[in-house]
Amino acid sequence: MLVLVADFEVARREFPVRLAVQAEAGERLAILGPSGAGKTTCLEAMAGLLPLSAGRISLEGRQLSRAAEPGSDVRAGHRGVGLLRQRPGLFPHLTVLENICYPPGASPARARQTASRMGLDGLLDVRPRGLSGGEAQRVALCRTLQTDARLLCLDEPFSSLDSALGIELLELVRRELVEVSAVLVTHQLGEAQAFADRVIVLARGQVLQVAGPRELVLRPNSARVAEMVGYRGFLRCGSQVLAIHPERVHALGRQDGAGGISARVVKVRPEGGRVDAEVEAEGEWIGRFHCRFDEAPELGSTLLFGAPDAPQFSGAEALLD
């Protein structure tokens, strides 16, 4: 059952941001893109903090924003959309429990339950300045959950934390949001893959691709997307461009042969109990691999590599800018 139906454009200073997305109950989405791409703008539009210049947004059949009638837009805070920012925004003059109970519909009993599930039991009477970054974001999450939001927008809430902690907290969020749809904004592929059922790639206000987390890496639809999901080497083969992912390339041995990529070893470096080697093909860095000390290649030697599923692009899709 579709919960979120959004197809809108927001005017920004440098370029407009366009997004068309649909989500079902409990579905998790991620918006992936470089900074300045307009990811936060999308969330702010859904939360009702920005007016639309075109299109509309509706949640569970209820129209929230419409460009044609901005006066009828539902006010932020009354849309059933929660927004978690990078800075938790906890009220410094209230305790953790008072913060969580802040939303008008909150009840202390429910608040304590949620807090307990988030591991905040001993902190309920503490003021926000006594909390660590991770604890503060957990409190912010509890607080937002008390609003019975049907859609939760997460604007890189854990990017300032240790990445392992961030992933752990994302897991926590996944578990808590059983029936609630969520949209996570991130510039880190790993976070998007860990969290989302579908990933939306956004650059300069345009959606480049929407795909599942694995499919996005296996089948990027353009060189630009390929670069954003980790492809590092782009080799010309006639009118085609071949994209090489450093973690999806393997050595075929030292002979030249058909179907392989010959690459020169440009760096050989011992690292701990093994050797790190980096290779380049046609001046493009295409990868790094490990081998045992006794198998280490010589610097400058040529090796053959295979990238069996490397995507190929031509024409406009091959452009990186």
Binding site: R75, G77, G82, L83, H93, P103, T144
Partner: protein, 263 residues
């Protein structure tokens, strides 16, 4: 070497601070040195001695209420940068501050004197803003309002807008956000701004001398008594002014400091 250098400069700073502090308290110490309890009691026993006290306190409370009501929205809008031509508004608030109170009084004659548009309008309501209690309140408001607006604007500016946004996103309307987030967080700064404003209103003299000679508040009482019967009978009223004007600001400062620590 470095250690003793730091100690010396800290010591010099402390000494300087101590000198300034003692100098500031100098007049108060001189006042207490020149008064005997007997003189204070006999001055206050004069018929009508409490009238100026009542007038001052009443007028200052009303002035404070007016300033609070009119100055708070202005201070908030200034702090949030939501006024068009913000520099113009700031200059407008600072100008009375830079104008000597005497000049403010002279200019108020042109604004609310009996024959001005405002004066005539007041006259229709049987009121007057010249030599009346209303005039006293007006003079005090003009002398004190910039202090409040500037102080309150600084207090509101110290409340991070993202906290107000968070409250909005959690479902609070404008008024509830104001009441539950903005004001509690700005409260310590607002308290000190009010304290200063109260002190200024109670001690207002320059503009009061010009447009509100009567009814006598404490400052006018001191001025007239000085010329009428001399220093020794005027000083007790100076002490009364201090004793009445001080408790509120002191309490506000102490509360503000404690509240700030808790945040």
């Amino acid at each position: 070497m470095r250690g003793s250098g730091i100690r010396a400069s800290t010591g010099a700073a402390l000494l300087g601070a101590l000198i300034v502090w003692v100098a500031l308290l100098g007049p108060l110490i001189a006042l207490l040195a020149h008064l005997t309890p007997g003189a204070v009691v006999s001055a206050l026993r004069q018929p009508g001695a409490f009238q100026p006290l009542v007038v001052s306190v009443l007028a200052s409370l009303i002035a404070l209420a007016v300033i609070l009501l009119l100055g708070t929205p202005l201070a908030y809008l200034l702090a949030r940068g939501r006024l068009p031509f913000p520099r113009l508004w700031e200059v407008g608030v600072i100008l009375p501050l830079l104008t000597p109170p005497l000049v403010i009084g002279l200019l108020l004659i042109f604004m609310v004197g009996p024959n001005t548009a405002i004066g005539v309008a007041l006259g229709h309501l049987n009121l007057s803003a010249s030599d009346t209690f209303l005039a006293l309140v007006v003079a005090e408001v003009y002398e004190a309002v910039p202090y409040y607006v500037l102080g309150a604007a600084a207090a509101f500016a110290g409340v991070e807008p993202e906290l107000e946004e968070a409250a909005t996103l959690l479902g609070d309307g404008r008024w509830r956000t104001w009441r539950r987030v903005t004001v509690p967080l700005a409260a310590p700064g607002l308290a000190t701004a009010l304290a200063i404003t109260w002190a200024r209103a109670m001690g207002a003299f320059g503009a009061v001398l010009i447009i509100a000679y009567h009814p006598f508040g404490l400052p006018m009482q001191i001025w007239v008594t000085l010329q009428e019967t001399g220093l020794s009978s005027a000083l007790p009223f100076a002490l009364v002014l201090l004793l009445v004007a001080l408790p509120l600001p002191v309490a506000a400062y102490l509360w503000s400091a404690r509240a700030r620590r808790r945040l």
